[in-house]
């Protein structure tokens, strides 16, 4: 058991090291020059050269990664070239916003997907299943930003019930905060619910064919109890994988959702940094998001082993 987890941690470290090296190579790989964003188009070649020399962008990627890690170990993720603010402060300010969006989106997705998948799987081809299938395919086929603009058109423009865009600090204006959170969370949740419903439904239909389910039904166990207590857990592996990956990836922020709803999260931070080639911010966001994906995938493995003890030694 211990060996299994040591191997996984080792692999994760290799993945992160490779990601770090690629990230530190970005200044060489990407066209676009941060000096132009910071110094303006009229900067002399000498000033541009001096500016770039200060950033050590020409150093070999391993050396840059080692410098970055040494500074990061002391909590220093560098300073934004554009705003002059510490990158760590910027991430600390943006991360809670993205996390809130992420957690809210997962709650909405699961709240929709689990009951709908159970109802669909219980009577495949029934009304609920057909309606659910149609709705989920429609949502899967629709780009997330169209879902977002559609929600704004209905709930903000037509009904006037919720604000279209923006963000409010939860400590200063809790009610306004929740009102501004509603549509982005719904947009995030709907898009993911559509995928989860399909995966859970397929898993449940397969499980419901198992003899132990038949035995439980023959003993008179009611449908909701049977589904929730006997069928859901063994049917949720693929859905768990998707939730885990989504959680990991979402640490980098959803650029589209954050852009449409004007939410100051990690996605917008990354987008702005890429547009201006603000390398300290780009590097920190990529390494941070990469670490989140790796940690999330390890967490999913851990949850697998809790959900199904047979997977505990399946490291190879």
């Amino acid at each position: 058991m211990m060996r299994t987890w040591t191997v996984r941690a080792g692999r994760a470290a290799i993945v992160l090291a490779l990601l770090g090296l690629v990230t530190m190579s970005l200044p060489m790989l990407l066209t676009g020059n941060p000096a132009l964003s910071v110094l303006g188009p009229d900067a002399t070649p000498e000033r541009i050269e001096a500016f770039l020399a200060e950033l050590n962008l020409d150093d070999p990627p391993p050396a840059r990664l080692a410098d970055w890690l040494a500074a990061a170990a002391q909590g220093d993720l560098g300073t934004s070239l554009v705003t002059g603010r510490p990158v760590a402060d910027e991430i600390a300010r943006r991360l809670p916003v993205t996390l809130e969006l992420l957690i809210g989106g997962q709650i909405v997705a699961l709240a929709i997907a689990v009951p709908l998948a159970m109802a669909s799987a219980w009577k495949p081809g029934g009304r609920v299943d057909r309606a659910g299938t149609l709705a989920s395919f429609l949502l899967i086929a629709t780009p997330p930003f169209i879902i977002a603009l559609g929600l704004i058109a209905v709930f903000a423009v037509a009904l006037g019930a919720l604000p279209a865009t923006g963000w409010r600090d939860a400590w200063i204006d809790p009610a306004g905060h929740l009102r501004h959170l509603a549509l982005p969370v719904l947009a995030t949740g709907l898009a993911e619910a559509a995928v989860l419903v399909r995966l859970l439904r397929a898993g449940l239909i397969e499980t419901l064919d198992q003899p132990y389910i038949l035995a439980a039904r023959s003993r008179g166990m009611s449908a909701p109890v049977l589904l929730a207590t006997r069928a859901l857990r063994p049917s949720s592996f693929s859905a768990l994988t998707i939730v885990g990956m989504t959680v990991g990836l979402a640490f980098g922020g959803s650029v589209l959702i954050e852009s449409v709803f004007a939410i100051p999260g990690m996605g917008q931070l990354a987008m702005g940094a890429i547009e201006t080639r603000d390398f300290p911010v780009i590097e920190a966001v990529i390494i941070f998001s990469g670490a989140a994906v790796v940690v999330a995938s390890i967490a999913v493995d851990l949850i697998y082993s809790l959900v199904d003890p047979r997977t505990r030694n399946a490291s190879r």
């Binding site: 990407l30 066209t31 676009g32 020059n33 132009l36 964003s37 910071v38 110094l39 303006g40 188009p41 009229d42 900067a43 000033r47 554009v82 705003t83 603010r85 910027e90 300010r93 943006r94 930003f145 977002a148 603009l149 704004i152 058109a153 903000a156 423009v157 006037g160 604000p163 279209a164 865009t165 923006g166 963000w167 600090d169 852009s259 449409v260 709803f261 004007a262 100051p264 917008q268 931070l269 987008m271 702005g272 890429i274 547009e275 201006t276 080639r277």
Partner: protein, 498 residues
């Protein structure tokens, strides 16, 4: 207002006009919060960082600093913190300030403060786009508290134009981590990077106190949801620079401050084949039907651009743009004698993509093989500034100021001469114009230069496209900017019906 407004909007327009005409005091509209949605995240309020001097964010700079001058109709300069600026030879300028000006902390905004600001903008570490203009000041002398005498290194007809943007936004030396102070109608109450900037009235303001209690600028990066935010009442006013939304705002009869102030152009790299040959440049120019671009990319909401002197320029000289003539294009290409293929670098904005697509089709019709190379904004800048392109789109408000545009884009070696264009006559005409005191005479010189530029086509001029602000019916005090070259609004004049 623009002549392109649909008739169907007449009723809504009449209502909006009636509302706009109401004096705020008369209907008890004083106070309130006005929320404006912008396309730019104003991460720095210091004029040296240029972020309060874009066309969409001038409203922020105007609120906090109120420049020495603002852009008036037909290129006129309207004095704000300044009373006047005079010159006899375009080299020595006398700037007169309004009396008793103070910054928002009560410290004096006098001749010395103005000189200090100019020196900060000119400094070697300055990142201001105004740095070259500031650096040409050879000497600055405080004649008295409100008079500054400036001597430039060389005569410059465009010098006073720069006083409408960062150079004219007189600011204090900023303290570490804080925005500098200004003498505008508003002061900064709070900033939330990535989200918003909140302003409150400046109690020390020299003019009538602002009508609003609070002015909030929100960063709303997505164009469509920005417009929906206006429709839903989440914000009261938004920046628009996409033709379909400008057309929609006009159809819905919203109050607008919109002008055809952004020019869609492309630089052709004259330093390398195929555009080092004037016949190829002229062939491309003749093969492009600008009317089609206007319909496809701007949905008809704009006008054709005939050259570097825009339709709203104070200089009345106009250029004669060659007509769409594919046969002429084919003849020129036959004379050139080699197959023509080139890369057209552009960004991913829908309007840019539409423009590139129709241009590609029109050029294919005459046998030119154009490849569209779509890149992000940072790569665009690098290619442009590094002169690393065959042809590159340049969508700009720079032509709103004719003097500045002419001297910075077309003379040989000018900082914005990204085409590498080198015509001794054009360089000489523009140089002469910059030293010519009489505006009529200057207009003539610019006109001659502009005609050569259009004939030799180092830059392709497509359309003058609309951009500006649209506001809900509850907002008043929005000026009619249809005769302006630059979208510049003073928020102290805005009010909101509560």
């Amino acid at each position: 207002m623009s002549p392109y407004r649909p008739l169907a909007a007449a009723a809504g327009l009449a209502a909006a006009a009636a509302l706009s005409a109401c004096a705020p005091a008369a209907d008890g509209a004083a106070g309130g919060t006005l929320t404006v949605g912008l396309d730019t995240d104003v991460t720095s309020l210091d004029p040296i960082d240029n972020l309060v001097a874009h066309q969409s964010t001038l409203i922020v700079g105007n609120a906090v600093y109120e420049p020495l001058f603002t852009d008036g109709p037909e290129g006129a300069l309207e004095p704000r913190l300044a009373e006047s600026i005079e010159t006899g030879d375009l080299r020595t300028w006398t700037l007169k300030l309004k009396p008793d000006l103070v910054f928002s902390d009560g410290s004096p905004l006098d001749a010395e403060a103005v000189i200090g600001h100019f020196e900060r903008m000119a400094g070697p570490e300055s990142t201001c786009l105004c740095q070259p203009a500031a650096a040409q000041i050879d000497s600055a002398e405080a004649v008295d508290d409100t008079t500054v005498r400036l001597t430039l290194a060389a005569p410059d007809a465009a010098f006073d134009r720069g006083l409408t943007r960062s150079l004219g936004m007189i600011a204090t030396e900023p303290e570490e981590g804080k925005a500098p102070l200004g003498a505008g109608a508003f002061t900064v109450a709070s900033t939330d990077p990535g989200s918003s900037v909140t302003l409150e009235p400046n109690p020390e303001y020299h003019g009538p106190a602002p009508i609003l209690d609070r002015l909030v600028f929100r960063f709303l990066p997505d164009t469509d949801s920005r417009y929906q935010s206006l429709s839903s009442g989440t914000v009261d006013m938004v920046w628009l620079n996409t033709a379909h939304l400008v057309a929609q705002a006009r159809t819905e009869g919203l109050t607008t401050a919109i002008a055809d102030s952004t020019t869609a152009t492309a630089f052709l790299n004259t330093t390398r084949p195929p555009f080092d040959d004037v016949r190829v440049r002229q062939a491309v120019q003749a093969a492009i039907n600008r009317e089609v671009i206007l319909e496809a990319a701007d949905q008809g909401a704009g006008r054709l651009s005939d050259g570097p002197i825009t339709s709203g320029s104070p200089y009345t000289a106009r250029t004669d743009h060659p007509d769409f003539d594919p046969d002429r294009a084919r003849r020129l290409l036959a004379e050139y004698g080699e197959p023509v293929a080139f890369d057209y670098t552009t960004d991913a904005r829908p309007q840019s993509a539409q423009r590139a697509a129709v241009i590609q089709q029109m050029l294919a019709d005459v046998g030119i093989d154009m490849t569209i190379d779509t890149v992000d904004a940072a790569t665009m800048d690098t290619r442009l500034f590094g002169r690393d392109f065959d042809a590159i789109e340049f969508f700009t408000s720079a032509y709103g100021e004719t003097d500045t545009a002419m001297k910075s884009i077309f003379p040989e070696g000018a900082p914005g001469n990204f085409s590498g264009y080198a015509d001794p006559e054009v360089t000489s005409l523009i140089g002469e114009a910059g030293e010519t005191v009489d505006p009529e005479e200057r207009a003539g010189l610019y006109g001659e230069a502009a005609q050569i530029i259009v004939d030799e086509a180092p830059v392709l001029f497509y359309t003058e496209s609309p951009s500006g602000f649209a506001a809900s019916y509850t907002v008043g005090g929005i000026p009619d900017l249809s005769e302006h070259n630059v979208i510049s609004i003073l928020p102290s004049e805005l009010w909101i019906r509560r």
